[in-house]
């Protein structure tokens, strides 16, 4: 069994909304048609987004902390939004656990949004069908993309690598390790929805130094060091040259 999911690291999210814009860009340009906006440049702009970044202030001044909190469909393992759908437009894929909406079947009754405790679904007010995060199902299996690009658009866009993507049922995957080692948790566990997406809490920041940062690969001194070195017995330049 595979359950693809995002793991979102609240420790490094800086609230830049890069994931929001890249999600919107990718999903408004796809075969399923645009994610419609209304009055995008007017006084009261509103639109369909599959991912939003919210901000919370935790604590009492002056001991406060600002937490940026990206939120999209959590691809629950026991999704309450699926069985309530009268048309079968909402479904959870067996092969990878992604929860999707079939836009050709949806009648826009909005019942599924009532059944999602996270407010993760938004109706497209122009197309009148339900929209939600697809985990970029149209990217991650696209063999015409380079292997490294077969990730959700938001994951690719995040400048701080706050978003990890992978199979949480594979205990060796990077996401499983991140959840295990960094206290990853699910939202609103009280409803038994078993969200696949997890969040990593604020924690002590560890500086990660890569090998090539300790010793610069392109250090000019090192480059010199790679020049041929004559052995001790060989005549030196002074021996063979009269200046």
């Amino acid at each position: 069994m595979t359950q693809l999911a995002l793991v979102i690291d609240l420790n490094v999210c800086v609230g830049c909304h890069a994931c929001v814009t890249s999600c919107k860009e990718w999903n408004t340009s796809g075969a399923a048609g645009p994610l419609c906006d209304e009055n995008p440049y007017g006084a009261d702009p509103t639109g369909t987004f599959l991912n939003r970044v919210q901000t919370f202030e935790v604590g009492q001044y002056p001991n406060t902390e600002t937490v940026h909190f990206p939120k999209s469909c959590l691809h629950c393992e026991d999704p309450p939004c699926v069985p309530v759908c009268p048309t079968g437009a909402s479904y959870k894929r067996k092969q990878d656990g992604i929860v999707l909406v079939d836009y050709d079947k949806c009648i826009g009754c909005k019942y599924c949004t009532w059944a999602c405790p996270y407010g993760a679904r938004e109706i497209d007010e122009k197309q009148k069908v339900m929209k939600k995060c697809t985990l970029c199902v149209d990217r991650i299996y696209d063999t015409s993309l380079a292997e490294i690009d077969r990730k959700p658009s938001c994951v690719k866009a995040c400048p701080t690598s706050a978003r990890l993507f992978g199979d949480i049922h594979d205990s060796e995957s990077a996401v499983s390790q991140a959840i295990r080692e960094n206290g990853g948790y699910a939202l609103m566990p009280e409803w038994g929805t078993h969200p696949a997406n997890h969040y990593l809490p604020r924690r002590k920041t560890h500086l990660k130094i890569h090998e090539d940062e300790l010793e610069r690969a392109d250090n000019p001194l090192k480059v010199d060091g790679k020049l041929p070195k004559p052995s001790k017995s060989e005549p030196t330049l002074d021996d063979v040259t009269s200046w």
Binding site: F56, V58, K110, A115, G119, P189
Partner: protein, 325 residues
């Protein structure tokens, strides 16, 4: 939640239709056992067509709730898991049998199909009426369960939701039946009026219990569980949209708390407080005008009740949408 007019009208109108039919068939069942005089076929026939009109009006209202009404037929697909799908199947089934029931009365095509050992003949309309009764209850249960099955909406997640759908639909239907009888069969006004009083009283009891229950609910979800940070003081400073979103429109009723407080006693008075004594009065002095006024007042009260039913429900997603930013 943000109450949608389409759903308010759907649930209240079909409730009247179901209740009216149940009232007519109750009278017919009594008459079958000679407890009441059997009425003219037109009494049952036109009455069930009136009930059909109400359910049709409800059905029309429901289409305004759909983004893609042209695909409505698809919604019968998931009856195994979805109460909404079950309602979509049971509603037309009820309407169909209700039509046959009325047509059978009006056309006079009402043969005795079975004769009981006691010699009692069971007519086609009795069998059709029996089926329609089961469907009427199945419809009440489906409609109620659409809301009662959503465990996050703690205000709705109780058997009282289904019970109240039955009682309130029944109350308005029996009140209409009393009015109908006052016009067509004045001798039956007392019988139907008596039932209207009983069901309205039970409705008062049921609705008061759910109001009492809901006033004591403790929300299971908090901002702490919503974002998974265990700190007693968390305030939202931005919700990711400046101009509102579907999540702010669908789940907030947009009225002041004072409005919510005012509508509660208002619907209790309109739906139960005024109709009950007036129904009692009309038991001794049946008057079409008075009964008409009772029906309209009660229905207005039930519309307000249904509005409040939706508005009162506090969806946990609202935790994520508190501050525009």
């Amino acid at each position: 939640m943000n109450p949608a007019l389409s759903v308010i009208f759907l649930t209240t109108l079909i409730g009247i239709g179901q209740g009216l039919f149940l009232a007519l068939f109750t009278q017919q069942s009594y008459a079958l056992f000679d407890l009441l005089p059997h009425q003219d076929a037109r009494f049952y026939g036109w009455g069930s067509l009136l009930a059909l009109l109400f359910t049709m009006a409800g059905l029309v209202a429901s289409f305004f709730h759909l983004g893609r009404p042209e695909r409505a037929w698809r919604s019968a697909a998931q009856w195994r898991t979805s109460w909404l799908s079950r309602e979509v199947i049971v509603l037309p089934a009820f309407m169909g049998i209700l039509f046959l029931y009325g047509a059978s009365h009006l056309s006079g095509l009402d043969p005795v199909l079975v004769t009981l050992p006691s010699g009692l003949g069971i007519n086609a309309t009795v069998i059709l009426g029996g089926i329609a009764t089961m469907l009427a209850f199945a419809l009440f249960v489906s409609t109620g369960m659409i809301y009662a099955c959503l465990r996050f909406l703690q205000e709705w997640h109780t058997p009282l939701t289904v019970i109240n759908f039955i009682l309130l639909g029944g109350a308005s239907g029996f009140t209409l039946a009393t009015l109908y009888a006052a016009i067509l069969a004045p001798a039956q006004t007392g019988f139907l009026g008596g039932w209207a009083i009983i069901i309205t009283l039970l409705g008062l009891l049921g609705r008061s219990s759910s109001l009492w229950r809901n006033a004591r609910l403790r929300p299971k979800s908090t901002l702490q569980t919503a974002i998974g940070i265990k700190h007693p003081r968390i305030v939202q400073t931005a919700q990711g949209a400046m101009g509102g979103s579907f999540s702010t429109r669908e789940f907030f009723h947009g009225k002041k708390a004072s409005f919510l407080h005012a509508i509660k006693p208002a619907f209790m008075v309109l739906a139960f407080g005024i109709p009950l004594p007036l129904l009692l009065i009309s038991m001794s002095q049946p008057s079409v005008w008075l009964l008409g006024a009772i029906f309209i007042l009660q229905y207005t009260g039930l519309l307000a009740e249904r509005w409040f039913f939706f508005a009162e429900a506090n969806h946990p997603q609202n935790l994520y949408y508190q501050t525009i930013g």
